[in-house]
């Protein structure tokens, strides 16, 4: 054996082909199609009209999906890293309140900061993103340095951020944004933002060191550390980004509603987690893809809209939604086990 054969990689004579595994997304995509077709058929049977071919309805679905989707992308990478983030919904509310207070128009007499009205729209955006990232940074620091479970750290943030949202104006809504700010939430903008976020993080998770480290830490934190990965620093980044994206979702939400309220984003964290998990992200860490999460988000959106379209009582909706989420995870888990039995 030549001296350089071991430490100098030899040119492979017969490179193994990049094996095309059955993409996990196909399974979940088929569920999406089944849900859509199901509602379509039921639509004709029950309501005598198409479910999907209704521009207005589709627009509503897509807009609803966008906000949850932005959050779900951040939550997905947290879960892949072996964590969880329960604070997203509350961060949405807190950032909405704070961002909106810097976005108010001077036409409104009772602005939160009368001296700071008619600011350019980048100011509230920056404030909102900074607020979200800051909350995420605190989550990440707690998880990385205190050793308390992510569930507890982010549960604390969930309560605290909701409290901040209420305390900020003593429960009063903040309204009347400038036209510039309101534009972020209007028309197709939320969808564009969502898709941009999804693409960026799809690429980041698959093709960058950031992504590889995220999977590695979720798969085996000990091994990741011994491989030279600075786990603490990376976890802080992951949670900070999740917070930043929740902040972004908060900005979009309040810009679209043209008002911010302390009750906004209630339970969004659970929808986001559900979307990630339906999309194939494993709560055990190390497994998950943004494409799956996007599909998972759309499935959730279709279900909410479909039930309303079929005039199913809102109370039933939640019962069915809960059952479907659990069923999806059970089915996925079963499939995983089958694959690993070999």
């Amino acid at each position: 054996m030549a001296a350089d054969q071991i430490t100098e990689p030899v040119a492979p004579t017969e490179p193994t082909k990049r094996a095309r595994r059955w993409p996990a997304e196909l399974n979940i995509l088929s569920v999406l199609v089944a849900v859509a077709v199901g509602f379509e058929i039921l639509g004709w049977l029950v309501q005598g009209q198409s479910f999907l071919l209704n521009e207005q309805r589709l627009t509503i679905i897509i807009l609803q999906v966008s906000v949850i989707g932005i959050i779900a992308v951040g939550v997905t990478q947290v879960i892949i890293a072996g964590g969880i983030d329960l604070s997203s919904g509350s961060i949405v509310a807190a950032t909405a309140m704070i961002a909106m207070s810097f976005a108010q128009s001077s036409d409104y007499a009772r602005a939160v900061y009368p001296a700071l009205t008619d600011l350019p729209f980048v100011v509230p955006i920056f404030v909102g993103l900074a607020m979200g990232a800051c909350a995420g940074l605190i989550n990440g620091t707690l998880v990385a340095f205190t050793g308390i479970p992510a569930f507890i750290a982010t549960l604390g943030m969930m309560v605290t951020a909701r409290g901040i949202a209420k305390w900020y104006t003593k429960g009063q809504p903040v309204s009347f944004p400038t036209d510039g700010f309101a534009a972020i939430g209007s028309g197709i903008w939320p969808v564009i933002i969502f898709l941009a976020v999804a693409v960026i993080f799809h690429v980041a998770l698959r093709y960058t060191r950031y992504g590889k480290f995220t999977y590695a830490i979720g798969a085996n934190a000990q091994a990741a550390r011994v491989s030279g990965i600075n786990i603490r620093r990376h976890l802080i980044k992951v949670y900070a980004i999740a917070g930043l994206l929740s902040g972004l979702a908060g900005i979009v939400t309040c810009a679209r509603a043209q008002t911010a309220q302390a009750g906004m984003g209630m339970m969004y964290e659970l929808d986001a987690i559900a979307a990630a998990v339906i999309g194939g992200t494993s709560l055990a860490g190390g497994v998950g893809r943004i494409t799956g999460t996007v599909i998972g988000t759309i499935i959730l959106g279709l279900m909410t809209s479909g039930f309303t379209f079929l005039r199913i009582d809102a109370y039933y909706q939640e019962i069915v939604k809960g059952v479907i989420i659990v069923a999806a995870v059970v089915a996925d888990d079963y499939r995983q086990k089958k694959r690993h039995r070999a």
Partner: protein, 512 residues
Amino acid sequence: MTALQVEQATQQEAVAVGSDFLLEIEGVRKAFPGVVALDDVSFRLRRGTVHALMGENGAGKSTLMKIIAGIYRPDRGTIRLKGREIRLESPLDALENGIAMIHQELNLMNHMTVGENIWIRREPKTRLGLIDHSEMNRKTDALFRRLKIEVDPQAEIRHLSIAARQMVEIAKAVSYESEVLIMDEPTSALTGYEADHLFSIIRELRRTGIGIVYITHKMNEIFEIADEVSVFRDGRYVGTHAAQDISRDDIIRMMVGREITNLFPKQTVPIGDVVLSVRNLTLPGVFRDVSFDLRAGEILGVAGLVGSARSNVAEALFGVRPAQSGSIAINGREARIDSPRAAMDHGMAFLTEDRKETGCFLILDVLENMQMAVLNGAYVKGGFVQDGAIGLACEGMRQALRVKTPTMHECIENLSGGNQQKVLIARWLLAKPKILILDEPTRGIDVGAKAEIHRLITELAREGVAVLMISSELPEVLGMSDRIMVMHQGRVTGFLDRAEADQVKVMDLAAQ
């Protein structure tokens, strides 16, 4: 039934059935998607004997064992227990049929007491239907006395040593009146003294008529404890011999199907300058005043019994758990190593002792596992991983190290232990280390892969890499090292040169 009654029952049965076969497996086949793990395998276990199963990793021992323990169902073939054909549906089913398995990863509940673990599902109850703890402890005591085990029935499992946990598992199996006991590498985490104790318990069990299927990679154990040896290779049964009629070389030949002429192909290579100089390294309560020099091209073996803190020293050197005082100098310059990252920046690499816990990313694929240590510098541009370049480098490593895997995208969990280890070695070689720390580089891997890894280590030394090799296997340390550092309870007790070192001298320093 009390432990005493259990004893009487097993003894009576032993007398009644005599030397009949306890367990007979015939023509068993088991296939998994893409691989036939066992093909037409037969195996017979006599009452009151210890029957060793040998074979390289992937030979099918584990699969056979899991079939006997009811974890897998065979595709074909029959299992007869005391002449009666049985069909096992689950591990519980096997247990109720008197077949118990003691897993390599012990299956005990860490936060429950010894007694609770043994009698779970069968807890003695008071008249009110509550668990009768005093009765439970009494029963456990009786059981332990019989097996000559000294463990406190009321201790929580997590406070026990690995050896003690193993004893508890064995006692649990016996408490089910098991007649067939399967032990999967029971001594892999035990010290010599603990292993001896285990052997005396095994002999005791054998005397009462229990048949023991004993899986091991350690050749000397065969001759110490086994009555019969069956060898498997590539999912097929090769043969069975009485342990007294067969030699070590015969077994190795049967296992690999070829002669391994030199298990430790150590070459003498020129030894260079000191690259790593450690002085008075101390971590209070763990190790103290560890000092040594390591030269380029040198293989420094580290020997010592469990509890000698060898691995802790390695962890300190690599910054996993840094020492509190003392100094580490690399190429003559003081280095502050407070994290694995810092150690890597100084050209160090560390193959950890526990492949599953601190080595592999079990759910990730071979490629991802291999590239993990070089994502910090080379192969990454502007945060983007250069998939082409890194893929090519990993593929080169795969070929150089002869890693057997269907593709680079195979989940590493599906590889044999030896191939997993090669992937981890490849991970570190990609980083082109100058100092390589190997902690039990061949633990739990088969003879063929072992020889390959030894050849590789020698080759690296020839290229000028300084190697620190910790090993519990004396023949490995003696065969591979230029020098041997022996530790005992956190202290270096001596150095031996290759020429003067032998088993007796090493053990002398290790046991003090």
